[in-house]
Symmetry: C2
DNA sequence: TGCAAATTTAGGGAATTACCTAAATGCCTA
DNA sequence: TAGGCATTTAGGTAATTCCCTAAATTTGCA
């Protein structure tokens, strides 16, 4: 885990919000927007952009940044890219801060 | 704890290094530089600036930023300002990431 | 094949951050 | 109270980040 890269990817209000929304998609996105596999795959770019009130390209880039930092996991399904949290890395991050930092 | 403020104050390599150095001052600063109370008070601005290889004003500002975010605790003693880690806040941060984020 | 929808890439202006030097302030001691 | 040392404040340039629109790409489907 590249600590600085992870921290930087979290150092923006919108990106931090996205991470929180993805913790419980059903609580933060309209049900009809979520794929049946929402829990497994996550939420697609345009739905996240709508929720964030920002342009699709901006949010697409945010999501990519977080995926590169390994905080999110991307899955391409047809024309959609779904993003979900990488819970393992988040737990690693917490442990790292607790014990190493 | 203002999560975004805390994360931002950690989103810089030098500031992250400072935090690590302050975890064990005796391992990272020359003994003769450390006050007898180093463990209690922390390390002064100019010693940290020297270790970081950066100008004193820049480091002074970094330290102040981290203190405002409550990651560091500042103690003024005569003409020196000592900085040490706020271990409690760091544990809070770890728990927050583990359970809330 | 060819259009439509979702996403990504490119390119750019505005805002913020990084980090410096010079000047100002605070505190000690002769 | 003057001079010296540590720190902070001011002010500025360069680099990075924010976040947009336009264009290109990818994929599904009639």
């Amino acid at each position: 885990m590249e600590l600085l890269e992870v921290i930087k990817s979290l150092s923006n209000e919108t990106r931090l919000n996205i991470l929180k929304w993805l913790k419980d998609p059903y609580a933060h996105f309209p049900k009809e927007e979520l794929s049946e596999e929402a829990l497994e795959l996550g939420v697609c770019v345009s739905d996240i952009a709508k929720k964030a009130g920002m342009s699709v390209p901006t949010v697409s880039d945010y999501l990519k940044t977080m995926a590169v930092a390994n905080i999110l996991i991307a899955t391409r399904r047809g024309q959609w890219t779904y993003y979900k949290r990488n819970e393992q890395l988040l737990q690693e991050l917490a442990m790292h801060i607790k014990n190493v930092l």
